[in-house]
């Protein structure tokens, strides 16, 4: 009984940490401009629209976050093996991972922008300095919370995987949740606020992204407050629910049917969410956007 109560406590804590991680991840990737919406940022100068948006073309968010989280887990695990205090080890691992993230971000921005020289897209060093540090700050929050989730799984729940292997699994899940939930909002709405709401991206508007802010020219930092209100919390909810339900079904049902109880519970949860998703999608299509007649 005590084991189950501790398990439920860890489940709640991990779910809350995951909500913070998801929100920070999406805010980070939108400020840095990563993932598939970045193709429009890359395209814009080629269509004659010079801009001050960051271009963090490291890879898709899932592989990138797999690296940051795995790396932080690996370094933290190494420090733990050397007898370091757990919190200090996790913080140091996260700091190293954040530095690596910042270095990759700068090389991606410089590389992509320098390769667009033919279209007159300049490198803005002020953008490089201000945006990189802001993405690093958000990345630190996202990585730290995810590593703590992995640490709780490895030590309190007694997961058979070691910390770096858990880092691969949950880093990938974090990047996938942030990418799947946050990118449609950033790519289809934020970059195209000058288009009809819900219209998607017409071919004729390709590359014509919003480049001006309330005052002056927009840099990616302006994506921060907007994402923190909308895309970020949605991604946080998504990743929080993923972590919560994953742990909840394991803690409660793994003792039934020699472990198959947890698998069946997982399948039932997926089916319930598919029904909810379908209902929400139909409701949204009927109530918003220009596609009502179609």
């Amino acid at each position: 009984m005590q084991e189950i109560i501790i398990g439920i406590g860890v489940t709640a804590l991990a779910g809350a940490l995951a909500a913070v991680a998801g929100a920070a991840e999406d805010t980070e990737s939108n400020i840095g401009s990563q993932g598939d919406p970045n193709s429009q940022v890359q395209l814009a100068p080629q269509m004659g629209y010079t801009h001050r948006i960051y271009n963090k073309a490291v890879s898709g968010e899932p592989p990138a976050y797999t690296l940051w989280v795995t790396l932080a887990c690996g370094v933290a695990w190494a420090f733990l093996m050397m007898g370091m205090n757990a919190i200090l080890a996790i913080v140091l691992g996260t700091v190293l991972a954040t530095i690596v993230q910042g270095v990759y971000a700068t090389t991606a921005y410089l590389g992509r922008t320098a390769s667009l020289s033919k279209f007159g897209q300049p490198v803005f060093t002020d953008v490089l300095k201000s945006v990189t540090t802001v993405t690093m700050g958000h990345a630190f929050v996202a990585i730290f919370t995810t590593v703590v989730i992995c640490y709780l799984l490895a030590t309190v729940i007694g997961h058979p995987f070691s910390l770096p292997l858990l880092g691969i699994v949950w880093g990938l899940a974090l990047g996938a949740a942030g990418s799947a939930t946050g990118n449609p909002y950033y790519g289809k709405e934020r970059q195209y606020q000058n288009q009809k709401f819900g219209a998607g991206v017409p071919i004729s508007a390709s590359g014509n992204i919003v480049r001006y802010a309330e005052a002056g020219q927009r840099s990616s930092i302006d994506n921060g407050f907007f994402t923190a209100k909308f895309g970020g919390p949605a991604s946080g909810l998504c990743f929080g629910l993923i972590v919560f339900f994953e742990l909840w079904r394991t803690v409660l049902f793994e003792h039934y049917l020699a472990g198959w109880g947890a698998v069946i519970a997982g399948a039932v949860i997926i089916i319930i969410f598919m029904v909810i998703d379908r209902y929400v999608e139909k409701w949204a299509r009927e109530n918003y956007g220009p596609y009502t007649e179609a």
Partner: protein, 271 residues
């Protein structure tokens, strides 16, 4: 059949870069083996990092060649594929080395990975019907690059090429090496992609990514190797990274259309 579009013109041909990469990787790995087997010291472990950089230079050129067939969005996946298939060669090569002799590990890893890649390339081109002319050769090369990079980073972390005490695989540091290598392999070409791509800038970024990966493996290596070996790896990696990062920024400044600090862009419509 896909149409070939050159990613960038001129520069050193792929064959020469590949040859240089293989030589750097194998020679560095053998120096690490000599250090461990003959001299009985572990402070030559940093040569594993040099081997990884050699392999990455080769791999970057192979990715660039493969991706000139219009699979731009597939650059990051090529890195993952390389390391996924390369792990098989790395494991089998190390097992064969354990049965016979440590000295054959580098060559065994290279040959087994090449064969794995050939089979995967054949499946991609015939069974999956991709029909990309350089597919078979490129996947073979990428698998070999993945295997050599993993064993190089493993040497930095553990001080030796063989299975050892299970720190690398058992504890799971292999996951860190896998991700560090896979992103370091795909990042340089992916980041420098575009009409203004230049070979020297991309290669400098490969070296930068290699040293950056080596820094992390050097930090982790303190678990398995002596403190002096760990510090030697770390200091060499940090110096190598700082020099290559600075050079990469200088090359970016050379290639960029303009280098502006806190100045607005001038819009075509405003002129």
């Amino acid at each position: 059949m896909s149409v070939k579009v050159e990613a960038s013109h001129g520069g050193i041909p792929h064959g020469k870069i590949a040859a240089a990469g293989i030589v750097i990787a194998l020679v560095s790995l053998y120096i690490a083996v000599i250090g461990h087997e003959v001299l009985n010291v572990d402070y030559l472990a940093f040569f594993g990092g040099i081997a990884a950089i050699g392999a990455l230079i080769w791999g970057n050129s192979a990715i660039k060649r493969l991706c000139s067939y219009g699979i731009g969005a597939g650059v990051p996946s090529a890195g993952m594929l390389a390391f996924g298939s390369g792990l098989f060669g790395m494991f089998l090569g190390v097992i064969i080395g354990g049965i016979t002799s440590v000295w054959i590990i580098p060559v065994a890893v290279l040959v087994i990975a090449l064969i794995t890649g050939l089979i995967l390339g054949w499946i991609a081109n015939t069974v999956l019907n991709m029909k990309i002319p350089v597919m078979i050769q490129s996947l073979a090369e990428l698998a070999a690059v993945g295997a050599l990079t993993t064993i190089g980073l493993r040497t930095v972390a553990t001080g030796c090429l063989e299975m050892g005490d299970g720190v690398f695989v058992g504890v799971g540091f292999i996951a860190v090496a896998f991700m560090l290598g896979a992103i370091a392999l795909q990042h340089p070409f992916n980041a420098c992609l575009g009409p203004g791509e230049t070979q020297d800038r991309t290669n400098m970024l490969v070296i930068e990514c290699g040293f950056l990966s080596m820094i992390i493996m050097a930090v982790i290596s303190f678990v398995a190797v002596s403190a002096i070996a760990g510090w030697i790896s770390l200091v060499i990696a940090v110096i190598g990274w700082a020099v290559s990062y600075k050079k990469y920024i200088a090359l970016s400044k050379r290639d960029a259309a303009a280098w502006l600090d806190a100045k607005p862009f001038v819009d075509a419509e405003e002129e």
